[in-house]
């Protein structure tokens, strides 16, 4: 036991607090060691082991609900982190050319590995101001319509679409209903299903129902190891099923919303590994893993001719859904 004062069932945030503290100590020690040539090897090794143990403790056989919490973690890498780390020459394209520019969805052109792609992604904010402006990454109809416009541009100029999914849900607001939230989601699904350009989708955080699916129809579906993808938030499911939103842990388990569940169901094509405990604990490693997966997926889909791509894309969704008889 590295951390004898820590109970086996210590709460998550207590473990996290200790982990950060140990990480800080480790960083300081490493700095001293490097600068002053002191031999602190032993001490550093001890601290490093403690960090690993704490992470492992934090992440021993995580429950679906724990994974939900990681997927929603405030410090989980978000679209801007992926944009700046994975893409160059980023040019944001704004507006649906109809009504508004929805800040909850980012669209743009950029380079990945030096080659042009269109990027579409949910855009959660980092602080209150951003979150208000972006509705916590919950799109309005204008967002999907912007996505459709930019996807069509990608089709026209012959570049693949990279879609990064991270939304709690489509925004449940009066204006969203007035402007046709349902129509916009349905249309986006239809357009993406027929888009004559390769589409690679990565669910990086929350894949929240229709708001996620609207930009998650593509040729390859990657999913970060601790992302979730669900038809309804666990809280909503519990409220409907047991009239008790507090039973969200049970609902989270019942919904089979984790990456391995979705891989098994034939929905997800590949799981992108995350550092122990989740991407927020070591963003660069998580982002690098996504880079590798995106690179492989893009290389594969770029090879294919459009008609083959479209048939396979259709077939991919066509076969999801087991039944009897």
């Amino acid at each position: 036991m590295i951390e004898p004062s820590l109970a086996a069932d210590a709460p998550r945030d207590e473990i996290e607090r200790r982990l950060r503290q140990t990480e800080d100590e480790l960083a300081q020690l490493s700095k001293i060691s490097g600068g002053q040539e002191l031999d602190l090897k032993d001490q550093i090794a001890r601290l490093r082991a403690r960090v690993d143990a704490l992470r492992a403790a934090l992440w021993r056989d995580p429950t679906p609900w724990q994974i939900v919490q990681v997927a929603r973690h405030a410090e989980r890498p978000k679209l801007p982190d992926y944009l700046s780390a994975l893409f160059s020459d980023v040019v944001e394209l704004r507006g649906d050319r109809l009504f508004a520019d929805d800040r909850a969805i980012f669209c743009g052109l950029a380079r990945f590995d030096g080659r042009a792609v269109a990027v579409i992604g949910h855009n959660k904010g980092k602080d209150t101001r951003e979150n208000l402006e972006r509705r916590w990454g919950m799109p309005n109809p204008d967002g999907y319509r912007k996505a459709i416009r930019v996807a069509r541009l990608a089709e026209k100029i012959g570049v693949p679409v990279v879609a990064l999914v991270d939304t709690p849900a489509a925004y449940p607001g009066i204006e969203a209903e007035q402007r046709g939230q349902a129509e916009a989601i349905a249309r986006s699904i239809l357009v993406m299903s027929q888009l004559r350009a390769p589409i690679v989708v990565a669910i990086t955080g929350e894949g929240g129902s229709g708001g996620a699916l609207a930009i998650a129809v593509g040729d390859r579906l990657l999913m970060m190891q601790y992302a979730i993808y669900s038809v309804i938030p666990p809280e909503g499911c519990a409220a409907i099923l047991w009239r008790d939103a507090a039973r969200k842990e049970e609902a989270a388990a019942a919904l089979r919303l984790t990456a391995p569940d979705l891989l098994a169901a034939g929905i997800v094509d590949e799981i992108v590994p995350e550092p122990t405990g989740g991407a927020h604990l070591d963003a660069p490693t998580a982002i690098a893993a996504l880079r590798d997966a995106l690179r492989r997926a893009l290389d594969a889909v770029r090879e294919e001719e459009v008609p083959a791509l479209l048939s396979e894309r259709y077939a991919k969704f066509r076969r999801i859904g087991p039944f009897a008889g």
Binding site: G173, A182, A186, R256, A265, R318, I320, P322, A324
Partner: protein, 295 residues
């Protein structure tokens, strides 16, 4: 002369759900006591207040498909329980027993005033008309078969959305059905979506909102997010007409609001217009046809 359309009879060829027991029923809208036979004779439109009572899939089909002609497609498909979701198998079993249906949709082919069409009708009484793998598969197959056979498609949606108990699999049915609609459009075949009370959630956010023409029944609830979720999110009361057919029409989403008693004729007229190689037929000719064929 009585217009037979105003007095539709339910079709015996389609399996039929029993009415609530008793001869009299209370209208949930105007609270008047109505003679059940009268309600049935009036296509379940309240004779007092005009409220369009919900119909089962079988009732729906009998109202629009020419009598005795409906040919069911893909019958006998029932849901698995791929997630082993709490109580799902049990609930589905109960729903099958209560409704006599396999799942929340019936699909097939049947002429509408002699115009051949693929028709799908959802059943809200079957687990809230929710769309899981069976509904998604049947709808998808219907669009695919219509495309192969060169038929137009009409759907009657009545659904609370995706079937939670099948998790992300049910979400994928949105993609599957929408993609199938896309292929029907490419084949230049018409698709008329009739949105009935209620059509919400994932069903609205997929095939039901992708018609060439959108028809709604008067007063029908149509929307994406649930009323309560919206009220909680924005912390304010919603207007009374929110998410009604009339509200959606004002906001550009619905072409026509058609009373149930006029629906069959409206559908046939539209189908003939949208299949330009079908001959036009005026009402008199149609009545003559019916008299001769005795259907």
């Amino acid at each position: 002369m009585l217009n037979w359309l105003k007095r539709p009879k339910f079709d015996a060829t389609v399996e039929r759900r029993e009415m609530p027991s008793g001869l009299w029923e209370k209208c949930p809208r105007c609270a008047q006591i109505i003679y059940v036979k009268e309600l049935e004779r009036n296509a379940k439109v309240c004779p007092k207040c005009g409220w369009h009572h919900r119909l089962s899939a079988a009732e729906r089909l009998s109202l629009v498909v020419d009598e005795g002609t409906f040919e069911e497609w893909d019958g006998g498909m029932t849901s698995l329980d791929p997630l082993s979701f709490p109580k799902y198998a049990e609930k589905a079993r109960e729903a099958r027993a209560q409704t006599g249906s396999d799942d929340a949709v019936i699909t097939g082919e049947g002429p509408i005033l002699d115009v051949r069409a693929a028709v799908g009708a959802m059943d809200f009484t079957f687990m809230g008309g929710s769309m899981g793998a069976v509904v998604g598969e049947r709808i998808t197959r219907m669009f695919e078969r219509a495309r192969e056979r060169g038929l137009p498609v009409i759907t009657f949606s009545a659904s609370g959305g995706a079937r939670m108990q099948e998790g992300a699999i049910s979400l994928m049915q949105l993609a599957k059905t929408s993609a199938a609609v896309g292929r029907l459009h490419d084949a230049r075949l018409p698709f008329i979506s009739v949105l009935c009370d209620p059509t919400t959630g994932g069903t609205t956010a997929s095939f039901a909102m992708l018609g060439d023409v959108h028809i709604a029944e008067p007063g029908a609830l149509i929307g994406f997010a649930g009323r309560r979720v919206i009220e909680q999110t924005i912390n304010q009361k919603l207007p009374d007409n929110f998410q009604t057919a009339e509200f959606l029409q004002k906001h550009g989403m619905i072409d026509m609001i058609v009373p149930r008693t006029d629906l069959k004729e409206a559908l046939a007229r539209l189908l003939r217009l949208m299949l330009p190689h079908q001959p036009a037929q005026d009402a008199r000719e149609r009545n003559d046809d019916r008299a001769v064929a005795g259907r």
